[in-house]
Symmetry: C2
Subunit: 198 residues, 2 copies
Amino acid sequence: MPTEDPAGKPPARSLRADARRNQETLLAAAARVFVTSGVDAPIRQIAAEAGVGTGTIYRHFPTRADLVTAVYRHQIEACAQAGPSLLAESDSPFEALHRWIDLFVDFLVTKHGLADALQSDSDRFAALHTYFLDRLVPVCGDLLDAAVGAGAIRPGVQPYELMRGVGNLCIGRDSDPRYDPRRLIALLLQGLRPLPQA
Amino acid sequence: MPTEDPAGKPPARSLRADARRNQETLLAAAARVFVTSGVDAPIRQIAAEAGVGTGTIYRHFPTRADLVTAVYRHQIEACAQAGPSLLAESDSPFEALHRWIDLFVDFLVTKHGLADALQSDSDRFAALHTYFLDRLVPVCGDLLDAAVGAGAIRPGVQPYELMRGVGNLCIGRDSDPRYDPRRLIALLLQGLRPLPQA
DNA sequence: TACTATCCGGAACAAGGTTCCGTTTTGTCA
DNA sequence: TGACAAAACGGAACCTTGTTCCGGATAGTA
């Protein structure tokens, strides 16, 4: 079955040699360009950096989201897998949740424009939104459940809305000294704790 | 002094008759288009709706932010002025803050794409960001100070970061049943309350 | 080596933002 | 009222970016 999963992961071993070579060149070039120009960088710029034509990019990564997820797949995966580990090694489920969210935030804020893209109105990134959520919402759900079970937070918060809220809080110009998303996210997590008196 | 404030408010009574006429036509047309196509609507579409050339739009509103602020000036103003009123009439400063934030959120979520534009990476909307904050941050600051003074929330939160956080939480596709910005904003405000012990 | 399926490059098209300038309108003054 | 200069208009033209398409190059195979 030659159809790939919707997130555009590198197709297996059936490509022609030049195709596979270009695919790797493209991933490396895109990673470099994303650092300097953000995930919104013009296709032509990425093509130039890789030394290929624009058609080649579209053939390998039909949508921009495919390219972005391919570039960051490893980190998304690492984030997903960190959930259970943190739950096991942290002193409390709440701490595990907090540390996991911090991990996610670190990932977002170090990738210029990634948080913006995640919530972008345009359909250009819809698949990116979907991929992130499909992969991370279940992990977040487990952490939330554990924290609720321990009585550390109130029930009723959905993982989807928490993830999306956290992602939203990371949006915007990087490195504005007046705005540190982590501060607000910490406040938001505080807001999840049980109310002092019934 | 004929210089205008940087937010592009309608210049005073010194325009030629046709210019003033066009300016009003444009504001009305833009308001209509924003409702259906969002504040990102193509300039040409607004020009067509108003029955003028694109040059005319740029002459009256050099940047898109100028047009947007001109269209929504009244509502921004109303929001700013609601701050002191709410403080006077609410049962507590915390309630006043909460109600004021709700007002702000209502404004943002009913204007398709406005919250997105506010935090947009591109410079296209930089002046919009500035205008909103210049006008509303002081109001928010007063409400915060009052709530801190009453012991209803912890000190240390800056009005800028709160406004921006709230704005950020409003970003995204409208009317996703899984995501209600108000829920998370309420949680965030809960997170501002003093910690139970210590 | 010859053949074909695959892949490549970049020209070409579409859409939107922005600028520019020849033309039209307005207001004023004789 | 007629003429004139300043102000404003309209939209063609240009630029950037996304996306498609196809003639030509190339890898794998017989």
